[in-house]
């Protein structure tokens, strides 16, 4: 459990933690890899969500995944970029939480993932939570927590 005192600093505003879907670059299941590659080249993220035509969350696609898909032992086959669909090679083992997520779950998952996807009960893509947002909270705790709270060491039990 994370106390309300800590939450207050970690999350400045419940709404601000999730970057909403309409501000996140995504690709479609049926897009070809060359489309995804161009998007990843212009987007600041190294990985982007893959959605189906209903905007439901289906997976993630990254440059390394794309490169693996067009490589064999001997060579890189760039001509395949226009042939393979994103849905054929995307990573379907991605971190995801519901909109009523627990902050402690997100904190734990972000140690190993650059961002967490947020979906509703029907798996519609709602947005992402990034490491950057949580690190803003870490900065607030480190600098301001002790301006608001007295912090004193708990007494150890005497023997």
């Amino acid at each position: 459990m994370i106390s309300d005192k800590m939450k207050r600093f970690l999350v400045e505003d419940e709404n601000s933690l999730v970057k909403p879907a309409n501000e996140v670059a995504v690709v479609g299941l049926q897009n070809r890899l060359n489309h995804a590659l161009l998007l990843l080249t212009t987007d600041k993220y190294a990985v982007v969500p893959v959605l189906d035509s209903d905007s439901k969350m289906k997976g993630l696609i990254s440059m390394p995944t794309i490169m693996h898909a067009i490589m064999d032992i001997e060579d890189v086959h760039f001509e395949k970029l226009g042939e393979i669909e994103v849905g054929e090679v995307m990573d379907t083992d991605y971190p995801s939480v519901k909109e009523d997520f627990e902050l402690e779950d997100v904190l734990r998952m972000l140690v190993n993932h650059a961002f967490i996807t947020v979906v509703d009960d029907d798996n519609y893509f709602k947005g992402i939570i990034t490491r950057s947002e949580i690190l803003k909270g870490t900065n607030r705790i480190a600098h301001d927590f002790e301006k608001v709270y007295h912090v004193t060491e708990k007494e150890t039990i005497a023997h």
Copy 2:
């Protein structure tokens, strides 16, 4: 200023915060882009440090940077991957701290950068500090800080 109480949780062990140079994938200034592309495909980082032949820190190279280097308005010229050197197109505006860094500087920089490079006074590459390590510290603070410390609200000044 970050208090010692906070530091104790943010950083479990001063040495563990920096991932040492010998554990970090790097590329050389004179490597061609195809070499860097292959390394970025197998490495888990989306960006890697570029060092000169003396192991001095020179810049960063990422897949988007590589793609930009081989693209023009009309097409992607994959044949250029074997021609262009990493040092010609790398990003030289990268976040960096010395070995005696202040934790608060690193915390602030990590909001906008996936990792911070650590160099010595002669600019020799010593390692990196990742968001993941700081997020482990965030988890420790969120879960354990109040197990060790009493936290009580400071009284507001009565008027």
